[in-house]
């Protein structure tokens, strides 16, 4: 009898993990659409492949652990991981790299630590970094955005490229691929060009790289949706974007000829995706409000540092992983003052 005692509250619960994840996927839709518009079908193909691999990996691991795979699949966390990964990698990434990435993310980074809620690192970002270090060329071969590309790939061409590595007839890699704006900026700055000279190029739009700037705006929109649905709080995204902006503004103010403007930093690379969808992953981020501010601002700072002086043009994944390591410590030192403890304001 005593074991059947169930504690209050006796009211229906208002939230559910799967609905949270579903909302995150919904919020990603504008970004997915814009990226597909600019980078072609490959992105959608990657999404489908990544989701398939992730779900398969999760099912196998759960079966090996002697548990019902449905429990893990129902929460949709594997799907979110897969989609975030697919949005971060080049849209023509060979399928086996996506497979490798998903196996790494789901098996090593997530399930070996105990599954959802127990992983210290963001699975999508860990997989991204793992591939970036192991396969740097494939991971940095981006397509040129629509409007700049000589030959926008058709659906079948994308599929063949991803599954087979077959280039469309009559084209070489150079004709299809293009450096990302961050890549180009770093490269040209290293060659001694000034921001003004670099800005002359037709690859630049209003806010950042052409095409890329709209991707940033779309993710910002999705982020606002998440905030409106109260699935995330403002602390991490705002502090991360502020951290990035403040550092960028400082150097830009010192020398605008050799340091790109803060706007460029905000709307290039994965800054927006990172701020709203990756750094805010609750499992691996800080949980205290003060801690989240420190966490976000540090990511912003690290992103700027690596982008400007590090070995890689973009740095959101590295910054997030680095701060994942620090999260428990930050949490420990930023515990809120408990009601009735210490000096209360009267």
């Amino acid at each position: 009898m005593p074991n059947s005692v169930i504690s209050s509250p006796h009211v229906p619960r208002v939230n559910r993990v799967d609905r949270v994840m579903l909302d995150v996927l919904l919020a990603l839709i504008p970004g997915i659409l814009v990226m597909t518009w600019f980078f072609g079908w490959g992105l959608l193909i990657n999404c489908v492949l990544a989701v398939t691999f992730a779900v398969a990996a999760e099912t196998v691991v759960m079966l090996l652990r002697g548990r019902s795979p449905l429990i893990a699949l129902r929460d949709l966390s594997a799907v979110v991981t897969a989609v975030l990964f697919a949005l971060s990698v080049p849209p023509i990434l060979p399928w086996w790299l996506t497979l490798l990435g998903m196996l790494f993310a789901i098996i090593l980074v997530k399930q070996l630590y105990g599954g959802l809620g127990y992983n210290p690192f963001n699975p999508a970002m860990a997989a991204y970094v793992f591939l970036l270090i192991s396969y740097p060329v494939a991971m940095t071969t981006w397509l040129a955005p629509a409007g700049l590309a000589e030959h926008p790939l058709s659906f079948m061409e994308s599929l063949r490229l991803i599954l087979n590595g077959t280039l469309p007839t009559g084209f070489e890699w150079d004709a299809l691929s293009s450096a990302t704006p961050l890549d180009e900026m770093r490269g040209k700055l290293d060659l001694g060009q000034t921001i003004e000279q670099i800005g002359q190029s037709q690859t630049w739009g209003w806010l950042g790289g052409r095409g890329w700037e709209w991707v940033g705006v779309a993710f910002l929109l999705g982020g606002v949706y998440l905030l409106w649905r109260r699935l995330i709080t403002w602390h991490i995204p705002v502090s991360m974007l502020l951290g990035l902006t403040a550092t960028a503004t400082l150097f830009w103010a010192i020398d605008p000829h050799t340091h790109p403007s803060p706007i460029f930093h905000l709307f290039s690379g994965a800054a927006m995706l990172g701020a709203f969808f990756i750094a805010t992953d609750p499992v691996t981020a800080c949980t205290t409000k003060k801690g989240q501010l420190v966490f976000g601002a540090s990511i912003g700072l690290i992103v700027y540092v690596i982008r400007s002086w590090g070995g890689y043009p973009d740095a959101v994944a590295f910054a997030v992983l680095l701060m994942n390591i620090a999260a428990p410590t930050i949490d420990y030192y930023t515990q809120p003052r408990v009601f009735g403890h210490g000096s209360a304001r009267t």
Partner: protein
């Protein structure tokens, strides 16, 4: 190179002296580990560990002469606490834990032989020769040492009745289904 060697040697000497001094200056008297162990033991004095009382078992543990799973009343919780304190691997208890009980003397059968009184390690049985004996429930540790000596077998162990004061909220039956680990890595430290 000579400078480097000298510097390292000087440093080594400095820290060596510092450590040596600290060892004397901050010396801890006595054997507090035995006290710490004794504080963890349930003090039933039942002797089921093979030692005459809790203190001797604590001292044996402190010397490293004994396994940490010998205390039956302490149960698994004690094994874990001892493993934590002594930095040893937890060992499984070989016998299932007992339900908390107290001794009860059947008044009709007691012949007043005082053997149980002599056996009781905590003086929880009162009575005198040729007089009826009785157990002080609040003092009885449930060690069962009085059961054996009774010549008429009139002592039995009775489980402590659960009442509202003693009742505890049960550990939630609805466990999160996904993982075996009690806490994620980041919180386990």
């Amino acid at each position: 190179m000579l400078v480097a060697i000298l510097a390292i040697a000087a440093l080594a000497a400095f820290f060596g002296i510092l450590l040596g001094y600290s060892a004397i200056r901050f010396r801890v008297e006595g054997d507090p580990i035995a006290d710490q162990i004794d504080a963890l033991l349930p003090q039933t004095q039942c002797g089921q560990c093979g030692h005459p009382g809790c203190r001797p078992y604590a001292e044996a543990l402190a010397k490293g002469e004994e396994e940490i799973n010998k205390c039956l009343p302490g149960g698994e919780a004690l094994v874990l606490a001892l493993a934590d304190l002594l930095g040893r691997e937890p060992v499984a208890m070989d016998i299932k834990e007992k339900i908390p009980s107290v001794a009860f003397i059947e008044p009709e059968d007691c012949i007043g032989c005082t053997r149980c009184i002599q056996a009781c390690p905590v003086d929880a049985i009162i009575g005198a020769a040729k007089q009826l004996h009785a157990v002080i429930n609040s003092e009885c540790t449930g060690c069962e040492l009085c059961v054996e000596p009774c010549p008429v077998a009139c002592i039995q162990m009775r489980p402590i009745q659960e009442d509202i004061q003693r009742w505890r909220w049960p550990y939630p039956a609805r466990q999160p289904v996904e993982s075996d680990s009690a806490a994620p890595l980041r919180d386990a430290a």
